[in-house]
């Protein structure tokens, strides 16, 4: 999918804090990663770990306190952007919000909600062109043109989520931050929405930052995964690599907690709990190291050596099996 590895978005030493002085709370720190054009990059981690905050900072909704957000080669988290540049970024990066209940204007028709961006950016020639675009879009997310004149509360959760998707896609963005777009949906609607996101990716080479906590879905949809805990990225790797060779104890705890839909295996399952206090970072300080090409982990020198040993052992086992 991302064979040419063209970097679309790059986060460098990002820090985001709320409040000031003694009330200052650092919600996100030391975040470093690149997202390639055309890939689905997943951000997973427990509730309150800073996933939405990172997503919102990329859209410029939440200010950053340190570091750079670089989109298409330009730093975008800066107040030096001129209005032209700001507009360009706010069209090319769109967000699908965590809560479809709260994010749609209840008093506007679906037609207006989907058109709003087009209107703000004058992205249509005339009224007919606008209506054509909106009609095409609503059909491509599996809703009907007759739905355009209804209001959000007249739709089910899955339908509302699709309105949110249509609103983002109609801007022909390059990057979509999809914040838990499916956690509120039941299995069959969830499948529809995921298939839809994949279809648009294939057709338009869209890039997704996909935020979620359901790892079975993440494994299906994403190319690479970053694991976040307490505002810090602890591990990053290609999807299958992360599932087969998880290194950080938090990643292992997270994977062990994913329910397996098989009664027999579920009965044998062991649950791991992450114990943060077991790290010894007082003198030997941790950093984000590339332990193997494309596989990063937050570790100090001692842990790094240990992870190397594990990887080597895994590698030996694999070659023995062959």
């Amino acid at each position: 999918m991302s064979s040419n590895k063209d970097v679309l978005l790059s986060l460098k030493d990002l820090e985001i804090s709320f409040g000031e002085g003694k009330d200052k709370f650092v919600a996100v720190k030391d975040v470093n990663f690149d997202i390639y054009r055309g890939e689905t990059f997943a951000l997973v981690g427990e509730s309150g770990s800073g996933k939405t905050t990172i997503g919102r900072s990329i859209l410029g909704i939440t200010p950053t306190s340190k570091g750079d957000i670089i989109f298409n080669g330009h730093k975008i988290n800066s107040n030096k952007l001129n209005s032209e540049e700001k507009r360009d970024v706010s069209r090319k990066i769109q967000m699908i919000f965590q809560d479809p209940q709260a994010s749609l204007n209840e008093r506007a028709t679906v037609d207006y909600i989907i058109s709003e961006g087009l209107i703000n950016f004058h992205l249509f020639k005339n009224e007919k062109d606008r209506l054509d675009k909106v009609t095409n879009m609503i059909e491509s997310v599996g809703l009907l043109p007759e739905h355009l004149y209804r209001y959000p509360h007249e739709f089910s959760g899955g339908q509302r989520q699709r309105i949110g998707i249509a609103r983002a896609l109609i801007m022909e963005p390059e990057l979509i931050v999809a914040d838990e777009p499916i956690s509120a949906l039941d299995v069959s609607i969830r499948a529809q929405v995921l298939n839809l996101l994949k279809k648009f990716q294939r057709d338009d080479n869209l890039t997704y930052l996909f935020i979620a906590h359901d790892l079975s879905v993440v494994r299906f949809i994403s190319d690479r995964i970053a694991v976040i805990h307490n505002g810090q990225i602890l591990e990053l790797a290609e999807t299958e690599e992360l599932f087969t060779n998880p290194l950080h104890p938090y990643t292992k705890a997270l994977l062990s907690a994913v329910p397996i839909p098989d009664p027999e295996l579920a009965r044998q399952k062991k649950l791991l709990v992450y114990d943060m206090s077991a790290h010894h970072y007082e003198t030997d300080k941790p950093k984000f190291v590339e332990i193997k090409p494309g596989h990063f982990v937050w570790a100090n020198g001692e842990e790094e050596a240990y992870y190397h040993d594990i990887l080597q052992e895994m590698h030996k086992k694999e070659t023995e099996q062959k």
Partner: protein, 366 residues
């Protein structure tokens, strides 16, 4: 399950209707269900299939526009379906039969401290002194995974995150020592690690206090790890019921087949996820034949004409589909869900269950 099982709750031919702007919506249609003593029964099914409405009738919690139009619910010699006024439910609702809802904000009092809300229930239901109640409350907070429980005893609901509030609601329900605990999607909003801890806690406390649980969820992974039996609902009916193993390894209803087929674990990466075509039927109309027929690729002529009865598969396993009629052609379940266990066994690649001894490593809980 071979000896005679004691039924805690016995539902017979239950129908529930809502009146909506002068029209009648049939949310539950002729449901019969027995709840066995000390089991965990999971109810699964599409959004809108009636899972919440069915269990609300067990505590008289239907909204005022809804009513039982047919059938009976018996609980320990009491006919619950005859109870009308809130007064008649005193002593049952919340005490004998308690419910944990998905939305925790509606169940907590915003102006009382978290700790006092739990302790109050302990004093009332377990007849403990105030200081004992406080200890029990802190222990429950601790066991539901609230960090620094003692220190957070005096905080208010707004100071807790959504996931933490949900754990408090669970702690309060458990403090009542109910005989039947209904959990209506209690973990949907929680992240996987907390969810796993809550499920462990419910199983643990169930052994300790010997209550019976009904667990409603969309997540088949959760079902596999917690349920003894499973009831599958589709548009107001129970279409299949059986033990956990029977439903996962030998499902018989085509709707259950589709439900299992939509598991993201079964999809090839880069491929399409299975999704059930079409939409569920309108509940305002009378349903002719099998309600699932229009979306069922295996539907036969009779499915559009006549409602199927519950066919018996085993002493514990029943399914409401004409495919089980002796005259029906033999149909295999879709290949995607054949050998489910083998498939999942092959997927067990992550070594997270190996325990390494290095500092900073995960601790094995179980």
């Amino acid at each position: 399950m071979t000896e005679t099982v004691k039924n805690v709750l016995d539902v017979k031919d239950l129908s529930v209707g809502f009146s909506v702007r002068g029209r009648e919506l049939k949310a539950i249609r002729n449901v019969s269900l027995q709840l066995h003593d000390q089991e965990i029964l999971a109810i699964v099914g599409e959004s809108g299939s009636g899972k919440s409405v069915l269990t609300k009738t067990f505590t008289g919690m239907l909204e005022s526009n809804g009513s039982i139009t047919h059938g009976t619910i018996d609980y320990e010699g009491k006919r619950l379906s005859d109870l009308k006024k809130d007064k008649e439910w005193i002593g049952i609702r919340g005490n004998e039969i308690a419910t944990i809802f998905q939305d925790p904000m509606t169940s907590l009092d915003p102006i009382k401290t978290i700790g006092s809300q739990i302790a109050e229930v302990v004093v009332k239901h377990q007849k403990k002194s105030k200081s004992e109640a406080k200890k029990i409350a802190i222990d429950l907070m601790d066991r539901t995974g609230i960090p620094n429980a003692a220190a957070r005893y005096n905080e208010y609901p707004f100071e807790y995150s959504g996931g933490m509030r949900q754990r408090i609601v669970i702690a309060i329900a458990l403090a009542c020592h109910p005989k039947v605990l209904i959990c209506d999607e209690p973990t949907t909003a929680l992240d996987v690690t907390i969810q796993a801890q809550i499920l462990e806690l419910i199983k643990e406390l169930q052994k300790e206090y010997k209550f019976t649980t009904i667990f409603i969820t969309h997540d088949l992974g959760v079902v596999a790890s917690i349920a003894d039996r499973i009831a599958v609902m589709y548009s107001g009916e129970i279409v299949e019921v059986g033990t956990c193993d029977e439903i996962f390894y030998n499902p018989r209803h085509p709707y259950t087949w589709s439900l299992l087929s939509s598991l993201p674990q079964l999809a090839a990466r880069g491929g399409e996820l299975y999704s059930i075509p079409g939409t569920p039927p309108s509940l305002y109309k009378d349903i002719k034949g099998d309600a699932f027929a229009p979306r069922n690729p295996y539907a036969m002529k009779i499915d559009f004409e006549e409602e199927p009865p519950m066919f018996k598969v085993s002493d514990t396993h029943y399914a409401k589909t004409w495919l089980l009629d002796p005259r029906a052609p033999k149909v295999e379940k879709p290949s995607l869900i054949q050998d489910l266990h083998k498939r999942f066994l092959a997927m067990q690649d992550n070594p997270s269950t190996l325990d390494f001894e290095m500092g900073g490593d995960a601790v094995v809980l179980k």
